[in-house]
Structures are given as C-alpha cells and as structure tokens.
C-alpha cells in the first residue's frame, strides 16, 4: 500500500534567496497559499465589481460569507469588536479556502502542517495580548480574575485561568492541524484498500466497491469538517478577542 503520509511532503520548486543562512524557497505549500489568496480575491473582487441589486450566484456567495462572519463577530464580541472584522474575515476565508482546496485530489492541504496553523494561532494570541494591554492597561490582568469567586479559592482559580490562557494557542492550532491531518490520512488509507483489493482479481474488484463507497462518504464528511473547522477557528478567534475587549468576564 502506498504511504498515507506521502501526501504531506513539502516539495521545493525554486529558491528565492537566503536569510541568515536559511534557505527561503517557493514550495508547494506556498503555491497553494497563493492559489487560495487568488481564489478569495477573485471571488470577492470579481463578484462585487459589477454589483446588482438582485445578486447573482457569485455575488450571493460573497455577500453570504460577509454576512455570516459579520454576524459571528457581532454576536460574540459586540459592536466594538467589529473593528476586528477584517482580521477575522481574512482568517476565516483563508482557512476555509485552504481546507476546501486541500480536498481536491492531487492538491496539497496547507492547513495539515502545524507551522501554518501555529503561525495563525500565535498571531491571534499576540493580537489579543497586544490589543488588550493597549486598550485596558493593567486592567487586562482582570482576565485572570473571574468576578464573583470567593477569595479563598481565588488563587487556585487564577492559576487555572492563567494555565488555560497560555494553552489557548496550542489547542487553537493543533485542533485545525490534527483534524485536517487525520482526515486526509483516513481518506488515503481507505483509498489504499481499493487499490490493494484491485490486485486480487474479480472477487477483489467486487470487494473494492465497499472501500470506494467509504471513500466517497468520507470525502463528504471531510467537506463538513473543512467548513466546520474554519468556522471553529474563526469563532475561537472572536471569543479570544472578546477577552481583549472586555477583560472583566
């Protein structure tokens, strides 16, 4: 059976230059990120350059995604959180497009690499700390002190809050990475069963129908996971930004 990990291999296309002795190369990961950015730009600019009062198909998609993210930001962070709307919308569309493009056969799923998701999660983490401290000053530390807690268990609760705050970027990035990675490996393992059974003659051909159907069903499931994980990534960003805006719980 073919190695199911092989699909995550980074292939270097050409070298762009060297920074501090490290090679900066254009890889398949960079290529698919560029494709995702081009797709998003094409969708949003192309559909809104010729606006009509009654939206067509493409314009509907663009408007629906805008409304969807705007509702999400407004309901979780309040109206003052809307200044973070471009940030959350960019993250949502970027992760969504990368997840969906990765589902097409023979493409590369960028979000299955922890370095990409960790960069996004750390960007959110430092935005929360930076904006929280800039806006609230030392009052930002109130995020670790929930209100209405008896004083004698407050040290314990604060310690737990600090721990959970620091583990946020870890769970934030590993969730997306692990879901996409595990999904793609499962897909490849079931696809591998098809080719393995195919070598067994007629009986194998009949048996191969089962894993083939399973692969189709799993692809549908992965489509759901791709959209859901992009949504979860974006809504967690909103919830963490809520702490930066209102640190007092």
């Amino acid at each position: 059976m073919e190695d199911p990990i092989h699909q995550f291999e980074i292939v270097k296309y050409f070298t762009l230059g060297h920074i501090a002795g490290r090679e900066i190369a254009f890889t398949n990961s960079a290529l698919f990120m560029a494709i995702a950015i081009a797709g998003i730009t094409l969708l949003l600019v192309g559909s809104t350059s010729r606006r009509s009062l009654v939206p067509g198909r493409l314009q509907s998609i663009a408007e629906m995604s805008y409304e969807f993210v705007a509702d999400m930001v407004r309901s979780t962070t309040g109206t003052e959180g809307m200044r973070f709307f471009p940030f959350v919308f960019s993250i949502f569309m970027f992760v969504l497009f990368l997840n969906l493009i990765g589902l097409v056969p023979y493409t590369f799923s960028v979000t299955s690499h922890i370095v990409i998701t960790a960069t996004l999660a750390l960007m959110v983490f430092f935005t929360v700390i930076g904006y929280g401290v800039w806006k609230n000053g030392t009052k930002f530390l109130r995020v670790f002190v929930p209100s209405g807690i008896p004083i004698y268990i407050l040290p314990l609760v604060s310690a737990i809050e600090i721990m959970s705050f620091l583990s946020r970027p870890l769970s934030h990035c590993v969730r997306l990475f692990a879901n996409i990675l595990a999904g793609h490996i499962t897909l490849k393992v079931f696809a591998g069963f098809v080719t393995m059974l195919g070598t067994w003659g007629l009986l194998g051909w009949l048996g191969a129908v089962l894993p083939l159907g399973m692969t189709v069903a799993l692809t549908a499931l992965e489509l759901l996971v791709a959209v859901l994980q992009a949504y979860v990534f974006a809504i967690l960003t909103c919830i963490y930004l809520h702490d930066a805006l209102h640190p007092g719980h």
């Binding site: 999400m72 309901s75 979780t76 583990s167 870890l170 769970s171 590993v174 969730r175 692990a178 595990a182 949504y231 979860v232 809504i235 967690l236 919830i239």
Partner: protein, 75 residues
C-alpha cells in the same frame, strides 16, 4: 523492552484519552439536540455556545493526540 516498541505502546495508550473527549463531545451535542427539540426557537441563539463548548472539550482530546504524535514523531 525495545524503546521503539515502548514508544508505540505509549502512543497507543495516549490515544485512550481521546475516548473521554468523545464522551464529552457526544454529551454536548446530545444535550444540545435534546434542548433544541424542546425549544427550537431558542436553538439558533445557542449555536455559538455549542461550538465553543465543543471546541473546549475537544481541546482535551487534542492534548492526548498531541502526546501520541510527539511520541511517534518528535521524541
């Protein structure tokens, strides 16, 4: 014991923790569905809370998966 074998067994044991996260995620979605069928009009407003609870619960399963991945590929 062979260190590689011990690593593999350790990774397998670490994955047991994901069962607990499975129970938790199932409880969250089951209770959400039960509550949504009782009061369908309030269900839409709680969807963000549902996803948040799901994400926080799933984080614990992810930590055990992380231990398994670290044992297999990093340590």
């Amino acid at each position: 014991m062979d260190p590689v074998a011990a690593k593999m067994i350790g990774a397998g044991i670490a994955c047991i923790g994901m069962g607990g996260a499975g129970v938790g995620v199932g409880t969250i979605f089951g209770h959400y569905l039960a509550a949504a069928l009782r009061n369908p009009s309030a269900a839409q407003g709680q969807f963000a809370n549902l996803i948040f609870g799901f994400a926080v619960t799933e984080a614990l399963g992810i930590f055990s998966l992380l231990i398994a991945l670290l044992l297999l590929f990093a340590l």
